[in-house]
């Protein structure tokens, strides 16, 4: 059963422009957590902002009972969260969502992240490493400052390549172009991705061209995070449906979906 309650803030530090890393001590939550899941955070006890904020798990430390969230300040809620000091308590629900799953027999994978979408990929990369799955990690961002969590990925000891829009780090261009090179040169069995929608869309098209399947983690404006309010839906292919798709809930049916099943609006 998901945890819901107060968790102690161990630290909450700036890690880049508008980017913070908060570490929470929450043993009940942590012991159930797996890569790709998220927590629903109440940033204060007031009615404005009213809703919780869904934020993915960036690190899961089973030994200490800590989880960390790497987040971008984009509005009032995350702004308030960035001001919560160490030692304070925040109200969190989680772990929520399905998380990534590693299909049987997968030996070599490509992990692709863009911007703050890199965040949920770190625990996955660690798990892939533990399971002895060979991997290449591609991380992108607008500039060097926006390649979220880069040092953490490097410290896992896997191959990490980068791309930035302005060329301030790694290849100048999109991370999807790096991905295409890898699909051509060194065809992986499978891929995992999280990032902005245009990136995911392009990646899925490219991967499909090379016959490579994978999983993507999606985001959508969320209400309850437990599947009740039907706010955070996305279009997923459904064979039995007349239109060929139906709305699925990002919070409980996802946030991770099979890449080939996602329908993007043009």
């Amino acid at each position: 059963m998901s945890f819901s309650g107060l968790s102690k803030v161990i630290s909450n530090e700036k890690t880049g422009p508008q980017q913070f890393l908060i570490v929470l001590h929450s043993p009940e939550l942590t012991k159930q957590a797996k890569p790709g899941q998220f927590v629903h955070v109440r940033v204060n006890g007031l009615s404005d902002p009213l809703l919780r904020r869904p934020i993915s798990l960036h690190e899961i430390d089973y030994a200490s009972g800590n989880v960390s969230l790497l987040y971008q300040v984009v509005g009032k809620g995350t702004e308030l969260l960035s001001g919560v000091p160490a030692g304070a308590e925040v109200d969190v629900m989680g772990p929520l969502g399905n998380g990534f799953w590693i299909p049987e027999g997968v030996k070599r994978v490509l992990v692709v992240g863009g911007g703050i979408g890199n965040a949920p990929l770190l625990p996955l990369v660690k798990e892939l490493k533990d399971r002895g799955v060979e991997q290449t990690v591609l991380l992108g961002g607008r500039t060097v400052d926006y390649v979220a969590g880069l040092e953490g990925f490097k410290s896992v000891g896997v191959t990490v390549e980068t791309a930035t829009d302005d060329g301030s780090l790694g290849r100048k261009g999109f991370v999807t172009q790096l991905a295409e090179d890898i699909f051509t040169l060194d065809k992986p069995d499978y891929f995992f991705a999280c990032g902005p929608e245009p990136m995911l869309k392009q990646l899925i098209i490219t991967a499909d061209k090379y016959g490579i399947s994978g999983q993507v983690s999606l985001e959508e404006r969320m209400g309850c995070a437990v599947g009740a309010c039907l706010a955070c839906v996305c279009k997923i292919k459904v064979k039995t449906d007349e239109a060929g798709w139906d709305y699925k809930k990002v919070c409980v049916d996802g946030p991770v979906f099979e890449a080939s099943e996602v329908v993007f609006d043009v």
Binding site: L50, R221, V226, C229, C232, V252
Partner: protein, 303 residues
Amino acid sequence: MSNLEINLGGLKMKNPVTTASGTFGFGPEYAPYIDLNQLGAIVVKGTTLEPRKGNATPRIAETPSGILNCIGLQNPGVDYFIEKSLPYLKEYDTPVIVNISGNSVEDYAEITRRLSQADGVGALEVNISCPNVKQGGMVFGTSCTAAADVIRVVREYTTLPLIAKLSPNVTNIVEIAQAVVEAGADALALINTLLGMTIDIHKRKPVLGNIMGGLSGPAIRPVAVRMVWQVAQAVDKPILGMGGIMNADDAIEFILAGATAVAVGTANFVNPRATMDVLEGIKQYMEKYGVNDINDLVGAAWK
């Protein structure tokens, strides 16, 4: 032990605390967080005759102390509800109130017929107030004649307690309330969401996929309390009050204004145990002020 039992238009509830339709799914969503047996009733997600996909995203936007939603009645349809959701809900010792919506009076009639034959439905909440669908919904609830027509037809098809859910997007809610009571409603639920919108100033476009949406949360509570106050004094039927109830104090305010029962909606998203906190707080309030029967508080602010 003080009495918390109430009667909502023929539906006996062990306490006055229920859930606002559309904020509580079909029940199991919140079962990991609260004991559904403790609720006075469960009001499920709006159900229509046919399955509906609902509106395009974004479906939710936050505003000061409130949220706008434009879900658009996404639901699997009444037959699916009867086959798949009702059996789960019947396991609980809590009456189920099914919220129903239709495109036409005929739709309302047919859905009522099917639900009345099903086992395990405690009452029907007739939604004539959804702001997020093109046909039906609020179209019925903003005209006295149309609202009364729906209730009159539904009444013919069921002996279940009928709760008419009213829209606040009207000039005079009392007239609508009187019209639906005349047509056969056993109780009134108010309020549904207030029609609103918000614009992204950077994109220079409305935030919501459906442009407009229904406002809920504490931002609307004073409007809801006012409407309960007015309707309670004008009609002789019990009221299920709702609109921004976040805690027991808010719920008691509704009861004092004239609500016999209260529904917790948006608060569930913020605090999955909100219904239980409300119930506990009502008990504490009664103890503090030596109130023996919750019914003594109904409308106490004007009686």
